[in-house]
Amino acid sequence: MDEPNSRVKVTEVGLKPPLIKAPLYAIQEMFNHKFLIRNLVVREVRGKYRNALLGYTWTVLEPALLAIVYFFLFYMLAGNPDKLYAMWVLIGIIIWGCFGKSLQAVVSSLTRNRNTIHLVYFPRIVFPMTSLMANIVITLMSCIVVFPIMFAFDLPLTIHALLIPASVFLAGFLAIGVGILLAPLNCIYQDVEHLVRFIVRAGFFVSPVMWTYEMALERGAFGEAAMYNPMLTPITLARHGLEGHATTLPPEIIIWTISFGCAMWLIGSIIFEKYERRAVKYL
């Protein structure tokens, strides 16, 4: 096959960089498709709050209402909790929600976009990335709720408040690694989506949303084991940020969480690149 014109490059359809490069390739593609991703994120965020009188206020309202419910529940069960307890639950719900919703959105990102996948080719890692970013944007909007809380409870606004957005990104990072691992499989068997929904509901209780790691450590072995739940780190960091002090979480736990996230990203992106093509044939 001869080149028709020196400007035009002959490419073989379907050639991909070696799988080992997938973790970096995915990030590179994100920058190559900035405009597309931005438009898709806007579509997802707008779509969520369409035709709502209160619009984006729901990003704050939803976790706040949930926190009130859990506060009363806990108050009835345990009686007289710490006065900051409701705030812990609220920030826990926001961070856990970021992880849970991102994970579900990433897992279903290919199936939800089947029409676009049939129409045009661009690197399919764009779809899970878009789902993740939309959820991060929504969660960051929810986080605005912390300002009135800090004021009401007389909490100091310090540099440590930056732990809150940092933990949103950490929760999202954990979600995408696990999510892209499962997204291709979900194209074949949508059982995955149902299973993930269950895991997100169950995970809520084994993550420190309604309890804190300090409480867990008082329970001995169970508490020790709970420290290795990767979601413990982002939720706890956000809580400490809200309270306005440096985190007291042991550094090895933070390192463990970040390493877990990186490992999931490496495995997830390689599995995604290896199987997405076979998977989209089922759509």
């Binding site: 096959m1 028709p4 002959v10 359809v13 438009n39 707008r46 779509g47 996948i117 049939h118 129409l119």
Partner: protein, 239 residues
């Protein structure tokens, strides 16, 4: 410009069949093929500047060939080589977001089709003019009629100027006046683009614009010839 710009060599493509619990159990007793072969060893060489048609019955694999060329389904066997950037015109308006305005959707759809921000900003006035939507362009797209959506979609899709254009049955949207206009637009696009591969059931159009036409049946390439020869071969198969 001379030479081959699209080359398919022995392209075979399979689609897996979904196994559910019931089909797995049934297959224990009654062995069935677990995959569907959509394309069987297709060899095609399309030259630069050519307008190439594909005809065949529904489900024969015409659209699948376009999807292989555009990279949606890379071949399982064989190779497909392409020189230059490719754009597939199909399913006009896929990805529209009902709650965003016409302009936002034009940008969204343009980016899905592979335009960058700078290109879209440059082409936006042309798109708005061609879509004839006037002030409706600032309204959410859910208020649009089907024809208006199609007009906006075609306006965006036809603003592209790729090296190779693939067209999959996109004619015949909107009211008669617009249909005329859209046909003309696509013909202009065909004339301006270096190489075009078109799938259509309107044989009149194929005769008018195609240099060569291939007949596809059940995933196999039956013949390639002039439009008249191909249409005759098509009727021989379908009877």
């Amino acid at each position: 410009m001379k030479g081959t710009v699209i080359q398919l060599e022995g392209v075979t493509l399979h689609f897996p069949k979904l196994k559910t619990l019931t089909t797995i159990l049934r297959n224990l007793f009654n062995k069935k093929e677990s995959r569907f072969t959509a394309l069987k060893e297709i060899d095609l060489a399309i030259k630069s500047g050519e307008v190439f048609g594909l005809i065949g019955k529904n489900g024969s694999g015409k659209s699948t060939i376009l999807r292989v060329i555009s990279g949606i389904y890379p071949p399982d066997d064989g190779t497909c080589k392409v020189a230059g950037n490719v754009s597939l015109l199909a399913g006009i308006g896929t990805g529209f977001s009902a709650h965003q305005t016409g302009i936002e959707n034009a940008l969204l759809y343009g980016s899905i089709l592979g335009h960058n921000e700078e290109e879209m900003t440059r082409k936006l006035p042309e798109i708005l003019e061609f879509s004839e939507l006037g002030d409706f362009i600032y309204e959410p797209i859910r208020t649009y009629s089907a024809g208006m959506k199609a007009r906006l979609g075609l306006a965006v899709a036809s603003a592209i100027r790729p090296d190779i254009l693939l067209i999959d049955e996109v004619l015949g949207v909107g009211d008669p006046q617009f249909r005329e206009k859209s046909k003309k637009r696509i013909l202009d696009l065909v004339a301006e683009t270096g190489t075009v591969v078109i799938v259509s059931h309107s044989f009149g159009l194929m005769k008018d614009i195609c240099d060569r036409v291939a007949v596809i049946n059940k995933g196999e390439l039956i013949m390639i010839g002039t439009p008249e020869e191909a249409i005759k071969a098509y009727y021989d198969i379908t009877g």
